[in-house]
Symmetry: C2
Subunit: 238 residues, 2 copies
């Protein structure tokens, strides 16, 4: 394929760049242990995660006014899961702290070295449904060198609404054809491609949750198919 037009790489974050489960399960388990609770925290986080897709389908995905950020949406879901698991021992401050565990996710080991290499040649943007505050916290904690935080909150459109991709390109001052989505979720990549984006699929294996998929992806499915950011840097000549 012709890469000479590619100017920006736009990254999905949860799953693609950061491990979306391990630290959240860990923090929930620690908090539960401090309260003497006997809960399967893997199941708890699965249940929390499982509310994500129905919630995204329910909300107005574009131009909500006022904008409801992912922090607020996740907290609503957390309250619901706490009720479902009959957990009443957490204070408001503890619930907020647990919700903020989404700000403290660790990148997969290939990400900081691979993404740092990619920065030499491309504009690097986040294109996540996460809040700007989540993106800033994660990047600062991990040392992820984004040029710009884009995606749902600045564009006021949640993926997979077409405007999430189109307005991200506009804010970059680019045509969609000059942008490449980098993601581990085939549905996200297909939605981006429908708006003109190039696509790079990064295979990630992580435990079940709303992000899971069971599709078999082959090299023909996307412009690039690989399994780490370092390999993507190789493929893009960085």
């Amino acid at each position: 394929m012709n890469l000479s037009n590619t100017r920006a790489l736009c990254f999905d974050i949860f799953g693609t760049v950061v491990d979306p489960r391990t630290n959240i399960v860990h923090e929930a388990r620690e908090l539960g242990a401090a309260k003497g609770l006997n809960i399967n925290w893997d199941e708890f986080v699965n249940a929390w995660d499982a509310l994500y897709l129905p919630m995204i389908e329910q909300i107005s995905m574009v131009d909500q006014a006022p904008w409801i950020s992912m922090d607020v949406l996740l907290r609503r879901n957390l309250i619901q899961v706490l009720q479902a698991f009959n957990i009443t021992q957490f204070t408001e401050a503890e619930i907020t702290h647990l919700n903020q565990s989404w700000h403290r996710l660790d990148p997969w080991p290939d990400c900081v070295p691979g993404i740092t290499r990619l920065k030499q040649k491309y504009i690097l943007a986040t294109l996540s449904n996460g809040s700007m505050a989540q993106m800033i916290s994660i990047a600062k904690r991990a040392g992820l060198p984004w040029d710009v935080i884009l995606g749902a909150e600045p564009t006021r459109a949640y993926k997979p609404h077409p405007e999430a991709y189109l307005r991200t390109a506009t804010m970059l001052g680019l045509m969609p054809e000059q942008c490449m989505l980098v993601a581990c979720h085939p549905s996200d990549l297909r939605a981006a491609r429908a708006q003109g984006y190039q696509t790079a699929y990064i295979a990630r294996s992580f435990e079940s949750g709303s992000h899971k998929h069971h599709e078999i992806i082959t090299e023909k499915d996307f412009d690039f198919v690989t399994d780490s950011m370092e390999n993507l840097a190789d493929l893009l000549g960085c």
Copy 2:
């Protein structure tokens, strides 16, 4: 003053971080020389610059739909100035290239070292009326290590509209009192302070244009009054 709450430094860009004239005059002069034009390019850029404030007063400063970015607004003004100077020799591509000289502005020498020090302790955001594309180009070219590009385009509010400051804080996940505007324009700092921001004034001397001011600023006028980002880093203990 109590700095313990300060989490984010929000930077004005044109004038405060980058020299807003030198490269634009240089590029206009080069382009004019190639066309054999006899124009005072300092005056030309002054005239271009002088259209900025009336334009900002004319436009709808908040929630324009569709959003009109600073790139588009500056290009409209450029067309007007070209007409006023009876310059008809520039092609569309040359006009676009000259308008893009706003993407190629150089930082003052204290900025990269000072701002890099400030990043260790604070979230660093741009809070400019410039477009996201301008901010990205300037930062990438100069090596300015912003955590996030905020300001007019993502908030859909041009300074000094209160929402430019308020929504920037919201997008950071912070209260305005946790944010400090860093700027060389007293009017910008006063508008930010009216919304609860802390303020740091950076004295800059540059030639006339819309950014000029003739006020005498004393240490009492803002929370911090200094003349470089390195001195600001000293004052903030970075």
